[in-house]
């Protein structure tokens, strides 16, 4: 295993008597994208702020490329980018002026800065807003500009706190692609989000936090299947809506659980084993259901999260 780009070791942060982050440890390597999930007040933002060196620790250590984020803040600054949940911007500057300032503060040469500014504005659909005042941008655009600010110096470790919160559906799709692209470039990324469906798509790892502690950490498959790795969720689509669907579903064996149905769609949990799944399909057909599609769903992060009992996703 290569050296960790970001390493949190037994990190503790307290606010008065509240332990906002309690003994959290994990590390991130090249090309790993960690999705940080948990209810409000779980400690996600504090963890990210601590990882960025903005929140002093009560105990533990945080290292980027083996260097302490607090004692080597200027060196670490070259490698680390952080986008807070509320974008930090200068409203009275134009988009270009703002990004030029950021480029200058990272020591980028003028030509290099111009090139990168154009690149990131293009990547984040802001190219036509270059000369507009930051204050005139919509919330989603400001969010994208904040991400552009983070990515402009080309950091190796990227921390994003609720980056998709203000984005429209098209923006979210584009943002997912961007994150996947950054991950494939070898960046180590942490994304805090409440949109779990998105996370399964681009994250390599998932961490579930609650009450300041790390409840689960692992690959998406590991975490999603952590509750019961032998069972998985299935979705059945019917060719037509059935009025007596509930009655017909009584034929299902007892091993089927968490059953949900809605006219022409049925979802449930069942054994992962393919042979047993085939037998179950036979049962459904025998019960007279016009099965048009029978699909084993990818690991369900939401279910895994809810099983932890930490709290509801907002």
């Amino acid at each position: 295993m290569s050296e960790a780009l970001l390493k949190l070791e037994r990190v503790c942060v307290r606010f008065d008597r509240v332990r906002a982050v309690d003994d959290v440890s994990f590390s991130l390597h090249v090309g790993e994208l960690l999705g940080l999930i948990g209810p409000n007040g779980a400690g996600k933002t504090t963890t990210l702020r601590a990882a960025a060196g903005l929140q002093p620790l009560d105990a533990g250590s945080i290292k980027v490329f083996g260097q302490d984020v607090f004692t080597h803040s200027t060196t670490v600054g070259h490698h680390l980018g952080f986008t807070p949940d509320t974008p930090a911007l200068y409203d009275t500057l134009t988009v270009e002026q703002f990004l030029r300032f950021i480029a200058g503060s990272y020591g980028l040469k003028r030509a290099q800065a111009s090139e990168r500014i154009d690149h990131w504005l293009e990547m984040l659909w802001l190219a036509d807003k270059k000369d507009e005042k930051v204050g005139a941008l919509s919330r989603g655009m400001k969010q994208r500009l904040a991400v552009a600010r983070t990515l402009l110096p080309d950091p190796h470790v990227i921390l994003l706190d609720e980056p998709a919160a203000g984005l429209d559906p098209a923006g979210r799709v584009q943002f997912r692609k961007l994150l996947a692209s950054l991950r494939d470039q070898g960046k180590a990324i942490i994304v805090s989000s409440h949109i779990l469906a998105d996370l399964t798509e681009y994250c390599t790892h998932i961490a579930i936090m609650g009450h300041g502690r790390l409840h689960s950490y692992g690959t998406v498959a590991e975490v999603a299947g952590a509750a019961d790795s032998t069972r998985v969720r299935y979705r059945v689509l019917l060719a037509q809506r059935l009025a007596d669907l509930g009655t017909r579903l009584q034929a299902l064996p007892n091993s089927v659980s968490s059953l949900d149905f809605d006219g022409d769609t049925i979802e449930f949990e069942f054994e992962r084993d393919r042979v047993e799944a085939a037998e179950l399909l036979g049962v459904l057909v025998e019960a007279g259901l016009p099965v048009a599609e029978f699909r084993m769903l990818s690991p369900d992060l939401e279910q895994a999260y809810l099983r932890t009992g930490i709290g509801q996703v907002d």
Binding site: M1, D23, S25, A88, L89, Y90
Partner: protein
Amino acid sequence: MSVTSMIRVHVQLAGTPRLHLMITGGFLAVVAAFAGFSYYVSDSAGYARLDGIWLTIISLAQCAFLALLAPAAIRKALQRDFQSGMVESHRLSPMSNAQIVFGYMIGPAAQALMLYAVSLLAGSFFLARLALGTGSFNVATIGSAFGGWCFTQACLMVLAVVTGALSLLIGIVSNGKSNILGIIVAISVLGGWSLVFLVPGLALLLGVMSAGILSKFIGAAGGAPVDAATIVGSVLLQALLSVILLASACRKFRNPQRSLFSIPLALLLSTWAGITLVAGVALVPKHRWLFAGWSGYEFLQTICSTAAFMLIGWFALSAAAKERLELDRARAAAADGRGRSACDLIPAVLAAATMLVFYVLRELSQLPSLSLAPSGPPREAALLSASVLAAFVLSFWTDYNLIYAAAARRRRMLFTLILAVGIMKVAPLLVDSLATEMMHGAFNTPWAWSGYLAGLSPFGSILLMSSDINGETARGVPLFGGLAVQAVLALGSVAIARRARRAITASDSKVSAVRSEPRANASGGRE
């Protein structure tokens, strides 16, 4: 590159280049218009007087630009950056603390600096007129006038750096909320000159406390009765203070949880304060014009200057208490047991320094007629001096423990604590004086318990040592009795600090216990 970015962005944030030029040009146009009009309506005999008036107006405007407008712009920039979150953006960047601080000192003040530059030109014009208008074209006279002018400008720049650094530091400490200029104006209006009379050392920071003093300071270069050595000394002290303030700003910018000054920096500040306070008192006899009407108050000035030194010593105490706290936390986390620290010596060091400052001030005040020097046999004098030193040690030690306990409990109560401790030290003295006066007024006899309350305060100890109140009894028993009470208070503060220390140890042992538990899934298979 980074510094220029910081400067440029703050200039951009303050307004467009056109706006900057309009403001600067507007100022110049207003000056030209009014000056032109005043010369137009005046006869040629009055031109020299007008030159002098306009030079004074320009000088005052320069003071306003550098000492008021620039620090206000710095505070406003910090306030905006704290509100928008851009301070954290700067903290994340690879810019060094010094680059950021320098950027804040120059960038937001750019408009004020442009106005200053223009006023410099205008002032030079009026000065040239004044020098040429003396009737005889004399290179030496003109050279001397311009030399004085340039020297005044240098002094002004140093003053601007001090006020700017003060504004910046207070802004960083208060997240851009506190307005130091407002506080200074309030103190100047309410306290005015009396503060300078009570603590003559403040006169060396002319301009910081009062616009009235500032105008005299500017006038000094033009021939007011302040000698050049005093001005140079004053400027050097201001320059040292600005270095200390800027160093602190650099230290605090990325680490807001740190104490305001590091221990070495706070000790340097205390040394600076000691030199300034002593120099202030030493300069009183040479500058009677400044302290007119305050003859005979030398004893009060000595006490107030000593109190000012003690107050500034608090920064070192605070730094030491916080460092000790960090050390204790680290030891508790590492289960390293308890231990002593060199930080605990700071109260004693400060007490010794206060005693030294007091003795030097006392010597400079030259007040044997007020029985400042302990009278009686040498042994008694030594005993009294030792008692006052003990009072200082106990006072600093009590404050040190209280600051430690407040910091350990993560209470942001420094102001309350300062107020409480201030009252604790000053109130007994005031109540004692008041009661003595009242008893004397009502019954025309000395109060039998006079001095007993004063003995509870370190300042009261100085008073009791230095003057006869009710004869020997008042000097001896209240002094030693008060000392005993102060010792009890110090022991109480030690108990409070010890309890806070135990809480740290207990709390961190819980963290250690959590760490020893297996952590399901967390970092499983990663390392």
